[in-house]
């Protein structure tokens, strides 16, 4: 379970990193204001339905947003709401450290690459965040598991024998 979930956490951060600013705004808006039709979600962010339709469909294909059919809808029959993964993505987006990391990654991508950091550092941060999420959800057992894994990874980073080799020759 742990290997798959670590991969899922990495995938989620990568997913969030690749979202456009509008998509991030849409996710946060749906989290704050609740589910809505395309028309409602569009005017909440001061856009028109055709401007948010494609970003929303993309979010749906990424599993961050789910739709529910409604009956008797003269203004549309699909209600967009956050999926569980979408809620986790919003939590990441609201986390100051993650937001700065995402912003730095965006600005750094055009800069000259510096010496590579230990990839396990990111893993530790993700495991910590997963622990925070689980604790907020009330699942203390799972939170403890995440924190313990973060601790093990941190300890392995402190051991020089386990330091990953530099990709540069």
């Amino acid at each position: 379970m742990s290997a798959k979930t670590i991969l899922d956490a990495n995938e989620l951060v990568e997913l969030v990193r690749n979202l456009t600013p509008l998509q991030r705004q849409l996710l946060i808006n749906i989290a704050d204001r609740g589910p809505g039709l395309i028309l409602e979600i569009a005017v909440r962010v001061l856009k028109f339905p055709e401007e948010v339709s494609t970003p929303l469909r993309d979010l749906q294909s990424k599993g961050l947003v789910a739709t529910d059919k409604i009956t008797g809808g003269q203004l549309g029959n699909e209600l967009f709401a956050l999926s569980e993964q979408g809620r986790q993505a919003v939590t990441l987006l609201r986390d100051d450290a993650t937001r700065k990391q995402l912003e730095n990654t965006t600005t750094r991508s055009a800069a000259v690459p510096t010496s590579p950091a230990d990839p396990r550092q990111q893993e530790v941060e993700l495991l910590r965040k997963l622990g925070d999420l689980a604790a907020q959800a009330g699942d203390l057992e799972k939170a403890r598991t995440w924190y313990e894994q973060a601790l093990e990874t941190t300890r392995s980073m402190a051991d020089p024998a386990t330091k990953p080799a530099s990709p540069n020759p």
């Binding site: 589910p35 809505g36 409602e40 909440r44 962010v45 409604i70 809808g73 203004l75």
Partner: protein, 219 residues
């Protein structure tokens, strides 16, 4: 020896705690529209399920264990229902082979409750969305100019901040400048008012217009 009849008062205590728990779930899930959500059938379906489940478990317990027919057990079961009992599983049948087939033969209350919760949420969202659609559709019966004026007044009273994209007043201009029918522009303005200033704001607009229309024939 005849079974002792469980005390209905104790049963109600257990049910009431379950009821409050269900109410809490609705309030938590629909923070923005709690009052309206509680007016839907889906909400009461979920709340009553929690009431009946907690009360039913107490009845079962008290019928099987007569000593448990007291208020302490009722309170315990009321609180245990959402935290312990819902996470339990109940075996449907003893499998012939002792392998992974055991899981398939069990009902997990948590899964069953999650399915029911999803149904309730869907019913509530459907009902609330239909109400909002109806409100927007009603607002389109009035003049475009009136809707525009109301939207701009609302903006003055409660300015919106949009970090990315058009300022709110320019968004209203953009709606009016769209090459669309007047009906679509009215729907956009009505949805804009409701989404950014609340449903009550749009309802007040409709009430005021209805009052004006009632006053006109008498003048």
């Amino acid at each position: 020896m005849p079974l002792e009849v469980p005390n209905l008062l104790y049963c109600s205590v257990a049910g009431l705690i379950g009821f409050v728990w269900g109410l809490g779930e609705i309030v938590s899930a629909f923070k923005n529209e709690t009052g309206r959500a509680l007016g839907t059938a889906g909400a009461w379906l979920l709340i009553l399920l929690n009431f009946v489940a907690a009360a039913g478990i107490f009845l079962l317990t008290a019928a099987v264990i007569p000593e448990a027919n007291n208020w302490l057990t009722a309170i315990f079961i009321g609180f245990a229902w959402p935290t312990v009992i819902r996470n339990a599983s109940f075996k449907l049948a003893q499998p012939l082979q002792a392998d992974g087939g055991q899981e398939q033969a069990a009902i997990r209350f948590e899964q069953a409750y999650a399915t029911f919760q999803g149904l309730a949420r869907s019913l509530i969202n459907n009902a609330l969305t239909r109400q909002r659609i109806q409100l927007v559709t009603s607002a389109t019966n009035y003049d475009l100019a009136l809707l525009e004026r109301y939207a701009r007044l609302a903006l003055i009273a409660s300015p919106l901040h949009n970090a990315d994209g058009l300022p709110a007043d320019e968004f209203i201009n953009a709606i009016l400048a769209r090459p669309s029918t007047e009906e679509i522009k009215k729907a956009l303005l009505a949805a804009f008012i409701m989404a950014n200033f609340g449903r009550d704001m749009l309802q007040d607009f409709i009430k005021e217009r209805n009052k004006e229309q009632r006053r006109k024939p008498s003048q």
